[in-house]
């Protein structure tokens, strides 16, 4: 499997306390562990089990994902921008890997 690449779409500037929508996508097969390959061997489970969104180190929201989440998980949600700062998004893989994406937003 190719290395999962997170992609995040959000504005880089906002008004103070503006509510903005963040759209995230990460390339990942989200292997359920229920599938068998062509030889009948079960394919081991490997999914992204958690997504966390933080702003300047404070948690905004997080989500636990189970095997019912589609491959290449897409998630959109809302954040408020109280001041200029950095949004940090992390995806936690079953295999222990953590994928990160940071976005600076300027209030002005």
């Amino acid at each position: 499997m190719s290395n999962p690449t997170p992609r995040v779409r959000m504005p880089t500037t906002a008004k103070k306390d503006e509510v903005i929508e963040v759209k995230t996508l990460i390339s990942h097969e989200m292997e359920t562990g229920l599938r068998k390959d062509a030889n009948g061997t079960p394919v081991p489970r490997r999914i992204i089990k958690q997504f966390v969104a933080k702003f300047n180190g404070r948690e905004i929201m997080k989500a636990d994902w189970h095997t019912a989440i589609s491959a290449n998980p897409y998630q959109a949600f809302f954040v408020k921008v109280p001041e200029s700062g950095t949004f940090e998004f992390t995806w936690q893989d079953d295999n222990g890997s953590v994928y990160k994406s940071e976005h600076k937003v300027t209030v002005g």
Binding site: L34, E59, I60, H66, A68, I69, Q75, F77, V79, K80
Partner: protein, 154 residues
């Protein structure tokens, strides 16, 4: 003149393609959850606390042609203030191999208890959402999604 694909090759190709499609589907033969399993999952979290209907706006298609990618959009009605906010929203499917879909945890930093994801559904089934408010009140919503796999009709 013989075609590039001899008859034997073509048959192999069709058979191989069939296998790929079968393995790519969500294994309909695997043990699937039942509505009782969803009730049991909710009980595990909240015991016998009363759960009221309402507050959750569930946006799911009535008919999903492709069970592998079904858009799920939700919003829970709440002021999302320090004193009154949505703490968690749990989603369950009563006909998937595993009843749990996803759990969302919000904070007063979230302006809306809303998100949009894409889920896998093995068959026609109900999606059940349970929202927990910061004061402990529980709300639920349910929606049936008809799944058409391979265009055979749901």
């Amino acid at each position: 003149m013989a075609s590039i694909l001899g008859s034997q090759t073509r048959r192999d190709f069709v058979a191989a393609a069939g296998t790929t499609i079968a393995t790519a589907a969500l294994l309909p033969s695997a043990a699937l959850a039942k509505p009782e399993d969803v009730v049991a999952e909710i009980k595990k979290l909240y015991g016998d606390k009363p759960i009221a209907a309402g507050k959750i706006k569930l946006d799911l298609p009535t008919i999903a042609e492709n069970g592998l990618v079904v858009p799920l959009n939700f919003e829970v009605e709440s002021p999302m203030s320090e004193k009154d906010y949505v703490k968690a929203v749990h989603f369950y499917a009563d006909g998937n191999p595993n009843p749990a879909i996803a759990n969302f945890y919000f904070t007063p930093m979230s302006p809306k208890a809303s998100a949009q994801i894409r889920i896998r559904l093995a068959q026609t089934q109900n999606i059940v959402a349970v929202a927990e408010m910061s004061d402990g009140r529980l709300y639920t919503a349910k929606k049936e999604v008809k799944v058409t796999i391979g265009g055979c009709g749901g």
